[in-house]
Symmetry: C2
C-alpha cells in the first residue's frame, strides 16, 4: 500500500472540480478514497467547498468522514446543512459517533434533527446515549453489540445473531444476558458452531466476562482494556444490565488525548490547541501561564531587592541567580514529571513519605555532584573560595527543596482528587524559582556572615 498523501496538486484539482460543479467527476474520483483521507482533504478546503463536497458524496462515506474532521470545520459544515441532511448522515453512523455529533449541534435544532432520523430504533439508541456524561464510559460506548438470552437455544441464538450483526461493524464478542438484560457472560463463536442446535445457551456460555460500569472514567477503561489486551468491553449500568460496548479504536483516541493533554500541561499550554489554530486561540492558551511566570519573576525581583545591600561586596551572588532559578525549575519538572507519569500508569505504590525520602536522597546525590562542579567553576573564575563554597552549599539546598516541592505537590493534588498534571510545567518552575532564590540568598547570607 502506498499511504495516502495529500498533495498540493490533488487539493487544487479537487478545488477546480468543485468550482466547476463537476459532481460526477468528483464522485468518481473520491469513491476509492478512505473516509479518513476524505476528512483530511475536507479539513483543507474552504467551508463552502467542503459543504458542497459533503453534499455531493454518499452519506455512507461522508458520515464517517465527518467524525474525523477538525471540530471547528465540522461545526461550520453542519451549520450549512439542513436538519434533514444532518439526520441522513447520522443514520449511517454508529450510535456513539452520532451522539457525539448531536452533542455539538446548537440546542435549537437537536430536536428537529432527531425527529428526521427515519430508523426510530437508531434514534432511540442515540437519545439514550445523550444522557451520559462525555467523560464517562457511558459517553464513550456505542449501542451496537450482539447479545443473546441465556434461555434461548443455539438455533434461536444463531438466527437472532444474524439480525443483530447487520448493524455491528465488528462483532468481537457475543454477550449473554438474562431476562432482565443483566450481563451473565459471553459466548465463543467456535463453541456455538460446534454445539447441537438444540442445546441451551445457558449450558454453553462462558460465565466470565470483563465489563466496566457506565460511570467509569475513560482513562480507567483505557487502563483496563490495555492491561487485559481487550478489543472490546461491555458496559453495564448500576444494576448490572448490559447497556453498551466500548471498542478499542475509541480507546486509542482516549490514550492519545490523555497523553497530548499531559504534555501540553507540562509545556504550559492550557486548553486543547494545535499548531494550526488561530493566533488568538494560541494566545489564549499560552498567555495565562506566561502571566503566572511574570508574577513569579516579579516576586523573585522583590525578594532579590531585599538583599540589595549585598550587591557591592558579593556581586557574584547575583550573577548566579539565573543558574539557581534554572536548576530549581529543572529539578522540579523532573520530579513532578516522574510522579505524574507514574500516577497516570498506576505505578506509584507505597506511602507518600517513602516517596519523598527517596526523592530527597536523589536530590542530595544530584545536588552534591552539581555543587562540586559549580564550586570548581566559581573558584577558578573569581578565586574567592569562601563565596564559592557559599554558592555551592546554597545550590544543594535549592535542589533538595525543588525536588521536595516537585514530588509533594502532584502527590498532594492527586490525593485531593485534582489532576496532578497541573503541577508540572510553569506552575512548578515558577514556584521553584521563587523558593530557590529565597533559599539561595538566605543561605549565602548566613554563610558569608552578613
Amino acid at each position: 500500500m502506498t499511504p495516502f498523501k495529500l498533495t498540493e496538486e490533488l487539493l487544487v484539482e479537487i478545488q477546480q472540480l468543485i468550482s466547476e460543479e463537476a459532481h460526477d467527476q468528483l464522485r468518481e474520483m473520491l469513491t476509492e478514497f478512505h473516509y479518513a483521507d476524505i476528512a483530511e482533504i475536507v479539513n483543507d478546503l474552504e467551508i463552502e467547498e467542503a459543504t458542497y463536497l459533503i453534499k455531493q458524496l454518499d452519506s455512507e462515506k461522508t458520515s464517517d468522514a465527518l467524525t474525523e474532521l477538525d471540530e471547528d470545520v465540522r461545526e461550520a459544515i453542519l451549520g450549512n446543512l439542513s436538519p434533514k441532511e444532518i439526520a441522513v448522515e447520522l443514520e449511517e453512523l454508529d450510535t456513539d459517533d452520532a451522539a457525539d455529533i448531536i452533542g455539538e449541534l446548537p440546542k435549537s435544532i437537536v430536536q428537529e434533527v432527531i425527529s428526521e432520523i427515519d430508523d426510530r430504533e437508531h434514534a432511540k439508541d442515540i437519545v439514550d446515549l445523550l444522557r451520559y456524561d462525555e467523560s464517562t464510559a457511558g459517553g464513550l460506548m456505542a449501542k451496537e453489540l450482539v447479545k443473546v438470552n441465556e434461555n434461548w437455544n443455539v438455533l434461536t441464538c444463531v438466527k437472532e445473531m444474524r439480525i443483530q450483526a447487520e448493524n455491528v461493524t465488528r462483532v468481537h464478542s457475543i454477550y449473554v444476558v438474562d431476562d432482565e438484560d443483566k450481563l451473565k457472560g459471553r459466548l465463543s463463536l467456535k463453541d456455538l458452531l460446534t454445539t447441537s442446535t438444540r442445546a441451551n445457551i445457558r449450558d454453553v456460555y462462558i460465565n466470565k466476562v470483563d465489563s466496566v460500569n457506565v460511570n467509569e472514567k475513560p482513562e480507567e477503561v483505557a487502563k483496563i482494556m490495555s492491561k487485559y489486551d481487550l478489543e472490546a468491553i461491555p458496559v453495564v449500568d448500576e444494576i448490572g444490565r448490559l447497556v453498551g460496548r466500548i471498542t478499542i479504536d475509541d480507546i486509542v483516541d482516549v490514550i492519545r488525548e490523555e497523553a497530548d493533554k499531559d504534555y501540553q500541561m507540562a509545556a504550559g499550554i492550557s486548553q486543547d490547541v494545535d499548531s494550526d489554530d488561530s493566533i488568538w486561540e494560541l494566545t489564549r492558551a499560552r498567555l495565562p501561564w506566561l502571566i503566572l511566570g511574570l508574577f513569579g519573576g516579579a516576586a523573585a525581583a522583590v525578594i532579590m531587592g531585599g538583599f540589595e545591600e549585598m550587591f557591592k561586596a558579593y556581586t557574584i551572588l547575583f550573577l548566579f541567580t539565573p543558574l539557581i532559578a534554572a536548576m530549581a525549575g529543572n529539578v522540579g519538572v523532573q520530579s513532578s514529571a516522574i510522579i505524574v507519569q507514574g500516577l497516570a500508569n498506576d505505578d506509584i505504590k507505597g506511602s507518600i513519605s517513602n516517596r519523598l525520602i527517596k526523592e530527597m536522597l536523589l536530590a542530595l546525590l544530584n545536588g552534591f555532584i552539581l555543587s562540586i562542579l559549580l564550586l570548581l567553576f566559581t573558584w577558578l573564575w573569581k578565586g574567592d573560595l569562601m563565596t564559592s563554597i557559599a554558592i555551592s552549599i546554597s545550590l544543594i539546598a535549592v535542589i533538595v527543596v525543588a525536588g521536595f516541592i516537585g514530588t509533594f505537590v502532584p502527590l498532594f493534588l492527586d490525593k485531593r482528587g485534582i489532576d496532578p498534571a497541573i503541577a508540572t510545567g510553569p506552575f512548578i518552575t515558577t514556584s521553584n524559582d521563587i523558593f530557590g532564590i529565597l533559599i539561595y540568598f538566605s543561605i549565602a547570607k548566613l554563610i558569608l556572615g552578613l
Copy 2:
C-alpha cells in the same frame, strides 16, 4: 466486574503459601487470575518467590504473564530457568512475544533455548522474526495469521482456514496471497459463508487491503492503524510478500511508549525510567540534563559579568534576570511543544517560514501584553520610567527570539531526520536562558545609553 486490585493482604498470603511450598493451594488460588494480574503479583515478589511461582503454574498462563512483567524482573526470573523451561514458555507464546523474549536472553543460551522448542514450525517462525530490527514493523509483527491462496476454491479455503485458525488468537482478517505469497487482498468471512463452495477465491476476494512495509517505523504503523481504525494490518516485504501481521494491542503499547518518551524528554529525563527504579538509575537519567542546565547557568553568569559596570547605576536590571530567564524558557517550551506535538500527529503543513512568521506574530502579541504589565509593575515599584521602559522593550525582544528558537530548532531537527523531541525541555530552556539574558542586557544598555 470488580477490577483486580493487588492488596497487601493478598501479597502476604501468596508469599506465605510460597514459603510453605503449598503448590496445590497456590495453583488453585491463581487459576482464576488473569495473566496480567499474575504479572502484577510477580513484579512485587522476591525473585526466588517469583521463580517458584512461575515454575508451579501452567506455562499456558505463565508465558503470557512473563511478557507483561517489568523487564528487570523478567530477566532475573529467566536467569533462574533452564533452557528447556524457557522453551516450554515460548512454545505457548505468539511468535512476536517469543522473539521479544529471546531478544533479551544472554546470547550464550539462545541457541539451546531455540533447539528445545518442540514445535519446529513455531521455532522457525521465531528465528525468522529475530532477523528484524526492533524499531521496524518487522520487529513488531507476529507470524500468526490466516492466509489463503487466490487459486483455491472456497471449500479448500475453509478447510485450510480451520487448521490455521488454531494458532491464531484473533482472526481479524483472512488474507489472500498468490502462488508467490504476494499479498493480493482480503476475504470477508461473510462473503465466504454465503458463496458456493465451488467458487474460486480469485472471484470473491476484495482486492484492496491496507498493508505496511516490513521496514516501516512503528510510529508510522501506529499512525496508519489509528487513522484508518484498523485492528490488524498485514506486513509485506520488499517484493510484496506477506510476512506477518501487526495487531492493535501492540500498537497501543507503541502509542503509550511514544507519548511517555516525548513527555520525559520535555521534562529533562533521558532513558526510559519509572518512579520505582533505583536512585542510581534515576540519577543517570536526570543528571545529564541538570549538568547541561549548570553549564547554561554558568554561561549566563559569565555574560552578566560582562555587564558588571552597570551594577551600581542600574541594580534593578539585575533583579529581573530570573524573570527574563523564566519568560524566555517558558515561551521556548510552549513553542517547541506545539511543534513537536504537531509533528508527532502529522499536523504541521505549509512551509517553515510561514510557521516562523506566525510564531513571531504570536510572540509579539504575547510580548506586548506582558511588557505592559511589567512596565506598570517596575514603574510603580521603583518610579524610574526610563529604566522601566528599557526593561519592558527588552522583554519583548527576548520573547520574540525565544519563540523563534522554540519554533525553528524542532522544525530544523525534524528536517534533518533527528527526533525533534530533544529540542523540548532543558535543551530549549537552557539555550533560551543564555540568549535571553544576552539580549536583555544588550538592549537595556543600548536604550539607557551606557
